[in-house]
Symmetry: C2
Subunit: 284 residues, 2 copies
């Protein structure tokens, strides 16, 4: 996703300094004029605005606060620069980055996205931003080059919190259409006919329209990986715990998706849950 997003910035004429753990992934950008750096810190030190798109919150922590030679991008970034983390990560970590950065006269935004690989390529990402208003006004024009909508939800961490809300609805929504169609199929109805009849009404959802047909076709290619959803569900559960809120629906989704990962479906698309209901009779 990162390289698709960076590509839009180059197209719009922004000089780009780039780093990736795997240099080959940056080759296309380098051919278009981006400048390679061997470490995140080196790239951070060269730029006015640093944008990161990583895997896990632990990666974000490493890159921003790293105990390694480079010492992390907050230490390396220029005074007055802006750091934007677009990874789906922990709201608390986003708050910590923002507050440590501020001490060094650096601004920070958390700006996770929804829309996936395809959204990154087509500039149709939805960008959810947390951070100070001033920092937002500075980062907004850049973020708009990568997405269809860019919204500030509140102070540091708010972008992450909004993204976690999104993932909660995604995860439980998946359970909703899988259980609906699993019963239909088990009782010898044509689940495609059922999907076709119910998707336009009160049972309708993005997943029922877009993922159910793939699942019914036994197409379990990602889309969105099971192991990424497992990660996001955990982050959402953490946030709910901190707010003293119990989410029994999300607990079910968590159990099911952790089981799927354990069963070896971590690299499959999230719609593989339907297959699980078929083969394991929904044991959650």
């Amino acid at each position: 996703m990162g390289s698709s997003m960076a590509n839009h910035l180059i197209t719009n004429g922004h000089p780009l300094h780039v780093h990736n753990r795997t240099r080959e992934k940056a080759e296309a950008l380098l051919e278009r004029g981006a400048i390679w750096h061997d470490t995140p810190e080196s790239a951070a030190n060269a730029a006015d605005v640093l944008i990161t798109m990583l895997g896990l919150p632990s990666d974000v922590e490493q890159v921003y606060f790293g105990k390694t030679a480079g010492g992390g991008v907050i230490a390396a970034a220029k005074s007055g620069s802006l750091l934007i983390d677009m990874t789906t990560s922990s709201p608390r970590l986003a708050e910590r980055i923002s507050s440590v950065a501020r001490e060094r006269n650096i601004e920070a935004l958390d700006a996770p996205v929804s829309g996936g690989d395809v959204g990154a390529r087509n500039k149709s990402l939805v960008v959810m931003v947390g951070g100070e208003e001033e920092a937002f006004h500075r980062g907004e024009p850049l973020l708009q080059q990568m997405g269809q909508s860019v919204t500030r939800l509140g102070p540091a961490g708010s972008g992450q919190r909004c993204k976690l809300s999104n993932q909660i609805a995604v995860a439980i929504g998946m359970v909703a259409w899988c259980e609906a169609l699993a019963v239909a199929k088990a009782s010898n109805l044509d689940p495609s006919a059922v999907q076709d009849v119910i998707r336009a009404g009160a049972a309708g959802s993005w997943g029922l329209t877009n993922l159910a047909p793939r699942a019914l076709n036994e197409d379990f290619k990602p889309g969105f990986l099971v192991r990424h959803l497992v990660k996001d569900i955990r982050l959402a559960q953490e946030e709910a715990d901190l707010q003293g809120l119990r989410l029994p629906g999300l607990e079910v989704a968590q159990k099911l998706y952790e089981l799927l990962e354990k069963l070896g479906y971590g690299e499959a698309g999230t719609q593989v849950l339907f297959h699980h209901y078929e083969t394991n009779r929904g044991v959650g």
Copy 2:
């Protein structure tokens, strides 16, 4: 709903014989020329096609097989007539009605609908039909006068099974957006802003678009009653049990909605679940 639906039939010139437990509810139809009957059996005996829209499966059983004076509409209906039950009811009961009716040379369809009061008034109901093809071809033109789509899903009981699939997706879908927005609100985000950002993407659902704004406005008017959803969830659980399928997501929705009914919210709209997450921190 029954009177709105009957109204479309009168508008299209069908002579109508009607019965309701509460005669006043039929007054508007009587003024438009419908003929009153004091019992369902009397109406059934006067008609070529009998259409029922009742409350619970126990009402359906009573009306079709009643042990009372009238003896039920299957016994009272004319040989060669067609019975259409549009109540959301048990698939097994629909099968039993169809098979007993067939012995008396009477055809039967189960034809539950989605779309609610508003759909019944606007002819935008989705009609899900189970029964023999021949019976379907006979009933279809009448059903099309009440809905935007009329689909046969298979033999007797299939309409009910499709409707239960619909209700499963509805019930769990409600849990999905409620938990998503409950966390957002608990962590001091503006839940309306979150709803606005996430509804267009993979988190999107009919409920998030149509019911969440009402819930956020503390408008808990039905829509669809909590106690009706409780009834439908039970029917769906029964069906899943018969298929040997476990539906952990539906179990959560059942617990929550049964709790809401117990707490006195039976007559509220189903979106009242959001209020529950706010006031009881999601204890399910």
